[in-house]
Symmetry: C2
Subunit: 118 residues, 2 copies
DNA sequence: GCGATATATAACCGAATAGAGATATAACTG
DNA sequence: CAGTTATATCTCTATTCGGTTATATATCGC
């Protein structure tokens, strides 16, 4: 999976909205375009970007080309992000520590002038 | 948090590498630039993009402007992706079903003719 | 076959982007 | 102060992007 293409495709709000719609099932191009006040070629372009990133696939149903969401690149992006989970959880831990420390300091010496680092 | 800016910033391999490096701690601009065969202004531009997306912050240490990773946008991106977790887990379930079905069919009719498309 | 519908492609435009090089700013060093 | 180091900013160019309109292709229904 190509993270460049995946993240780049996800960087556009129209494309994220398209994916959100497709999360509920297959939708044709015209039906996808309807809520967006965009021309049909513009939507087709977005779909091409999503398809190139592997985020959607398309089948044939008469004159329609229904789009289906493909989860693999989303999972790959998620895996990449997971490596950083530790960091934001750690930051929250630090924030919790800080708040706890402040509370204790305030309780212990309510009118003490502020110190910087410990 | 702005998902457009976040995903857009993550869509570049240089910037993802910078974040990976920063995951281990603060690093100055020159030290960040070293492994990349990029000019210093190019690296500064990438840092500007990351900073604008809230993915890094910078402090002052003498002549250095050390960069630090900020986890909040990563967490926001992760939250967005999490909404689709169900989909890829479901797909794996489908794949498992399919493989199971194929195995059973193969056992039942070992020499079923295959169709080919052109 | 013809006409209608669904979608794709081509040609174009303006704004944004990534890179380079040159220069400017800011802080340390002697 | 001058010189060096670290970083930012300006200017330029080439490319990409998101949109448009116009046109082409594919499939249906008759």
């Amino acid at each position: 999976m190509n993270l460049d293409a995946t993240f780049s495709a996800l960087a556009d709000p129209t494309r994220r909205a398209i994916l959100a719609r497709l999360a509920e099932g297959e939708v044709s191009v015209m039906d996808l375009a309807a809520p967006f006040a965009l021309s049909q070629p513009a939507v087709s372009k977005h779909l091409r970007v999503l398809e190139h990133a592997g985020l959607i696939s398309r089948s044939r149903d008469g004159q329609r080309r229904p789009c289906r969401i493909e989860a693999a690149p989303l999972e790959a992006a998620n895996s990449w992000l997971e490596r950083y989970r530790e960091i934001w959880e750690q930051n929250y831990a630090r924030l919790d520590d800080l708040l706890e420390t402040m509370k204790q300091e305030a309780a212990a010496e309510p009118s003490k002038p502020k110190r910087k680092k410990k």
